[in-house]
Symmetry: C2
DNA sequence: CCGGTTGATTACAACGTTGCAGCCGTCTGG
DNA sequence: CCAGACGGCTGCAACGTTGTAATCAACCGG
C-alpha cells in the first residue's frame, strides 16, 4: 500500500540508506542525488513509517497527557495550551482522561500499556496525594502538574496557589468586604488545590485582622458548576451572613453566582465574587467575573519544555525541577466598587 | 531496559512465540505452560512494545481526532465523549487541533505524517467545504463529523441540523415571539452549520407565516462567546426591534444574552433566548438557557463504531454511511412564559 | 606519486513483534 | 495396529527503519 524506503530507493536507483539520509537532511549527499531522491519521494508520496522508526529509534514523537476530564473547562483550556505547546516542538499529544479524581484509575494509568507508544507523560492527577509520590517513580519521562503531590521524584509545574489565593482574598478585603465565604473546600483533605487556596485565604484574613469563621467555608464534592450552585444554596439556607464569595475555581464561582442572583442578591453590591483560573467564559458572565490568572500558557509551555528535556537527557532526573508560574489578579465587574 | 518477549521466553524456558501466544490468549496452550509464562511476565513486568506490534501487524490501537479547538466548549465536550467511546473499544485518542476553521491547516492535517501511527481518523473540519470532498479520499479509514462537507467518500456522522433548528425556532414562536433574531450567521457561506440552521429558522418562519426580516440576521466571524457578544451589541445599536434570539450555538447565545442583559433587557420577559449544543454551562447561566441537545454521546459513540468498522473491514467504504443523531429541545428559563 | 583525508554511498544488522509452516507426540477410529 | 487428526510448541522470516562499519572514488600535501 504505502510506499517504503525500499520503493523510493528502487525508483531513484540508490540504496535505502541514501533515501533515509535524504529524508533526514544528512550532509554528505550530492545535490544531483538529493534531487533524484526528492523526486522519487514526491512521485510515490512516501511518508516515513512512524512505527518502524519508533521501533528502531525508541522515540515516537508522541507525548501522553493524562488529565481528569475535558468537560471541565479548566482542563479543556489546559489541554488546548499543551497541545499547542507540543506542536511547536513537533510533538503530538495522546490524551487520556482519568475521570474526576479516581485515584485507582490514575494509578492504573501510570502503567497502562496504552502509554507504551509515548515518549513521556504530562500528568495532572486529582486523586493522588503526597503519600503516593513513590508511585510516580515510573520508568519513563514524566512531568507532574497540579497540587496533589509534592516532593515526588519528577519535575513539577504548578503555581503559587497560596499566594494567589491570598491575593484574591486581599482583593475582596481591599473592596471593604469582611465576611468572605469560600466555595469549594474539601473537608478532611490535607493536600490539593483546595487546601492550599483555603490556606491563602486564611493568611489573608489573618493579615487583615479578620477573624476566621468556619461557617463561611463551604465544602463540595467536585469542582463542577453544579457543586458551586449547591454549595451556595446551602450557604444561603444556613442564614449565615456574607458579603463576598471566593470560588476556588471559576466554575464553582459561576455556579454559585447564579444561585446567589436567583436568590435575589445583587452582584457586586450585596455580594462580590471572585474565582480562580481565568477561564474564557468569566469574561462573558453577568456580571463579568473577577478571577486569578494562573498563567496557563506558561504552565503548558514549561511542562512540555521540561518533558522534552527529560526525554532527551534520559529518564533519571538528577534533581527534580519545580516550576511555579506567575499569577495575576484580574479585576472585573463582580468585584467592582 | 524494558523486558521483551525474548526475556520472558528465556525466563519461562519456552520460545518467544509461545509467550506471544500466551499474551494473545491463544487457545492451545497447556495450563502449566501458561502459568509459567504468566509468572515470568509478572516477574519481569513485561509490556508489549506497541511500536513493534504495530510495525508487524499494521495496527496501533490509536485513533486520531482532529478538531478545531478545545477551548470551544462544544469541541471539548465532544472530545470528552469520543475519548470515552474510544476507551470502551480499547482505543486511545491522539488529539490534533486545526485551529478555528483554517482550511489549509485542515487539508495539511489530512496528510500529516503525525497521523501515521494512527489506525484511522475522526475528522471535524470547520474550514473545508463540499467542493473539498475529494480531498477526503485519503488512504486510511476516516469518519467525518460536522456540516461542512456532504457527499464525501467517507462515513459521516452528523445531526438533523435543519429540523433541529426549525424546532428551536418553532419553540420560540410557540411562546408567542415573532421578531426572532439569529446570532451566528456566516455571510456569503453556502455550507456549514450556520447555513443549515438559518435554513431551519426560515422554514419555521414560513410555516408560521412570519415574514423573514434580513435585519434580524446577525453575522459573526467565529462562534466564540466574544462574537455573540459583539453581534448582540451591534444588533441593539441598529435599533431593530426583536423579542427573541436564537444563538446558533450555546456559546454565541450566552455571549449575546449577557450583552442584552447589560443593556437592560430582561430575559425571558423582553427577549427570549435559545441556543444549540446543550453545553453543560447552559444549565447554570442566569437565566438557564434553553437549547437543542444534538445527541453528543450518540454522535461520539457512532463515530467510533463506524471508524472501528472501517478499520476492521479495510479502507474502502462500499457505500459511505451517513448517520444522523436525534435531537431534543431543552426548555429552560430563558424561554419560560 | 603515494599515504591519508574527506565525501558520497552502501551492506548489514538490529529494534520487538507476529504470521506461517512445520515439528513432534498423543489420541482416535476403523 | 496404523493413518491421520490434533494439541502444543518452535523456528524462521518479515514488517520499515536507522546506526555502524565498510567501501570506493576523488582530492590534497609533501
Amino acid at each position: 500500500m504505502a510506499a517504503t524506503l525500499r520503493d523510493v530507493a528502487a525508483l531513484a536507483g540508490v540504496s535505502i540508506k541514501t533515501v533515509s539520509n535524504v529524508v533526514h537532511d544528512f550532509q554528505h549527499i550530492r545535490p544531483a542525488t538529493r534531487e533524484r531522491v526528492r523526486a522519487a519521494i514526491d512521485e510515490l508520496g512516501y511518508k516515513p513509517n512512524i512505527s518502524a522508526r519508533s521501533l528502531r529509534s525508541g522515540r515516537t514523537g508522541v507525548i501522553g497527557l493524562a488529565l481528569p476530564e475535558l468537560s471541565l473547562s479548566y482542563f479543556a483550556e489546559l489541554a488546548d495550551a499543551i497541545i499547542q505547546a507540543a506542536e511547536r516542538r513537533h510533538l503530538v499529544v495522546l490524551l487520556e482522561q482519568t475521570g474526576g479524581g479516581d485515584r485507582d484509575r490514575e494509578i492504573a494509568m501510570l502503567s497502562s500499556p496504552r502509554l507504551q507508544l509515548t515518549d513521556g507523560l504530562i500528568f495532572s492527577p486529582l486523586g493522588l496525594s503526597t503519600e503516593d509520590a513513590a508511585l510516580l517513580n515510573v520508568g519513563y519521562p514524566m512531568v507532574l502538574l497540579g497540587e496533589r503531590v509534592f516532593g515526588g521524584p519528577v519535575d513539577h509545574v504548578t503555581m503559587h496557589n497560596v499566594e494567589a489565593s491570598k491575593a484574591a482574598t486581599l482583593h475582596l478585603i481591599s473592596r471593604g468586604r469582611r465576611r468572605i465565604a469560600i466555595i469549594g473546600a474539601h473537608e478532611g483533605e490535607v493536600v490539593g488545590s483546595a487546601v492550599l487556596r483555603v490556606q491563602g485565604y486564611r493568611e489573608a484574613l489573618a493579615e487583615a485582622g479578620i477573624p476566621f469563621d468556619p461557617a463561611l467555608i463551604c465544602n463540595v464534592g467536585r469542582w463542577h458548576r453544579v457543586d458551586g450552585a449547591e454549595a451556595m444554596r446551602a450557604l444561603i439556607d444556613t442564614g449565615v451572613s456574607f458579603d463576598a464569595v471566593f470560588g476556588l475555581n471559576d466554575t464553582l464561582a459561576l455556579g454559585a453566582m447564579r444561585v446567589a442572583q436567583v436568590a435575589g442578591l445583587r452582584v457586586p453590591e450585596d455580594v462580590m465574587f471572585i474565582g480562580f483560573d481565568a477561564l474564557d467564559e468569566t469574561k462573558y458572565s453577568l456580571p463579568t467575573l473577577s478571577t486569578i490568572d494562573p498563567g496557563r500558557d506558561e504552565i503548558a509551555d514549561t511542562a512540555v519544555r521540561l518533558l522534552v528535556q527529560r526525554i532527551e537527557e534520559g529518564v533519571t532526573p538528577p534533581l527534580p525541577e519545580v516550576y511555579l508560574a506567575d499569577y495575576t489578579v484580574i479585576d472585573r465587574e463582580s468585584t467592582a466598587g
